[in-house]
């Protein structure tokens, strides 16, 4: 019922459609641009460009939509009815997470399959590469939906939420890497493992790394020594670990915060 209810809410609202419209327009531009790509690996390059465009959109959209869905439950007082009728906060959050993830990821999967149609006219279509790209998008959505759900649990009203969501998006996309760039000169061979752990903890890095490798555009065979020291696992394992970390930790933090504070 949660999933059906969530689908009705999202589909009848404007948020998700605006998000899709933006994605649609941006994707069209990428497809037009990729007409000039070489035919070999051109499809993979096009997918990578699409992913890079989605990197700006998806975190912001999924943070907003998923966090708002939690804050709405608080504002509408429906959360109180759940918590006094059947659910604990943990079980509510679990069902709500499943519902939000299912609906948002489902919508984006369908959208990407629709997008696959014009792709076939531009570059030779490779299903395996397309599925790797789809997996990257799904993981990106999943992680940022979960972070959004955590932010929604943490925030008390929409104004607070808007600020925190924008800051979080900015942090992930810009600030974190900026910090890395400024710390880079002090990085040495002795601290490389440390650096590597933090580098791959950022889901944006890990997912991109996985995608490049899965599309056959980055081989792990010819890496320089220092990069080999950084990369000590298969990209698929990195992806799995990061998915686990960024699902479990925000979820548990959200439950813990609720236990500490009051449900308004």
């Amino acid at each position: 019922m949660y999933i059906l209810k969530e689908w009705k809410e999202e589909s009848r609202g404007v948020g998700i459609w605006i998000a899709l419209a933006i994605s649609c327009v941006a994707s069209m531009f990428i497809l037009v641009q990729s007409r000039s790509f070489p035919s070999e690996q051109g499809f993979e390059a096009m997918l990578l460009s699409l992913y890079e465009m989605n990197l700006y959109l998806i975190p912001l959209l999924s943070l907003f939509i998923s966090s708002l869905s939690i804050v709405s439950e608080k504002e509408q007082k429906t959360l109180m009815i759940f918590l006094t009728k059947k659910e604990s906060y943990r079980s509510f959050l679990l069902r709500k997470s499943i519902a939000v993830q299912t609906v948002l990821i489902g919508i984006f999967i369908v959208w990407n399959f629709v997008l696959a149609l014009p792709m076939k006219f531009i570059q030779p279509f490779h299903l395996k590469s397309f599925l790797a790209y789809l997996l990257a998008i799904v993981v990106l959505l999943f992680i940022f939906n979960q972070i959004g759900i955590f932010l929604g649990s943490f925030c008390k009203n929409r104004l607070q939420l808007t600020g925190i969501v924008i800051f979080s998006w900015f942090g992930f996309l810009y600030l974190l890497d900026l910090v890395f760039l400024y710390l880079l000169p002090s990085e040495t061979k002795n601290t490389i493992e440390f650096f590597s752990a933090f580098y791959f903890l950022d889901p944006l890095h890990t997912i991109y790394f996985y995608l490049e490798n899965a599309l056959g555009l980055l081989s792990l065979d010819h890496l320089s020594k220092i990069v080999q020291q950084m990369v000590w696992m298969s990209p698929t394992y990195y992806l799995f670990i990061i998915l686990l970390i960024w699902t479990v930790i925000p979820f548990e933090l959200a439950v813990w915060f609720n236990r500490k504070g009051e449900v308004e």
């Binding site: 918590l83 006094t84 659910e87 449900v263």
Partner: protein, 223 residues
Amino acid sequence: MIVVEGLSQSYGKKQILAEVNLVVDKHERCALVGKNGAGKSTLIHSMLGLLPVKKGSVVLNGIPVRKEQWKPFVSYLPEKFTLYPLLTGWENIEFFASFAENGIDECKIEKTLKDVRLWDDRHARVKSYSKGMLQRLGLAIMLYYDSEIQILDEPTSGLDPIGRREILSILQTLTNKTILFSSHHMEEIQQICTHVAYLEDGFITKYTVEDFLSKLEEGEIVS
């Protein structure tokens, strides 16, 4: 049915509830009265486990509120709820019906919507409902649950006199239930309730409705 003992709550240094003791017996209809900011919502939230209880105890239907097993016996209608504006009346009640012990019973939903006179508007989205209609939909959910203990937080808040009358007429149909509801309106307390729990300065004093009204007239209690 509802037993509160020694309940204390504070926000920072400000004490809201101080050693509150309250017993609401079976089938009793008790109004929770107090000035704005007296702590009525705090008390209700503490009773329902929405606020962590650090000092004191709350027992609902013989089950401590720290455990989850009391939930099938209790229904709660919060103040200023809006439900799901983009869903229709039917879809809202159908969704909440899924939390009931017996799940979704469409016949029962139909009966409930007819009882609250929302049957003809069931396919309209809730965002098009008036305040009165919304409140009736909330009550419909409560009626559907048919729990033994029903707690309502200002169910007539913000309604015009006609709307208030409609709500009260529905509440009057709730027989053999233990009801606790917070209110500012003495007429509806007179109409519905048997007892009044008066919250002042963090303490509760329980009266019968007649006693409370006489003290109010005498000026011993300022509402």
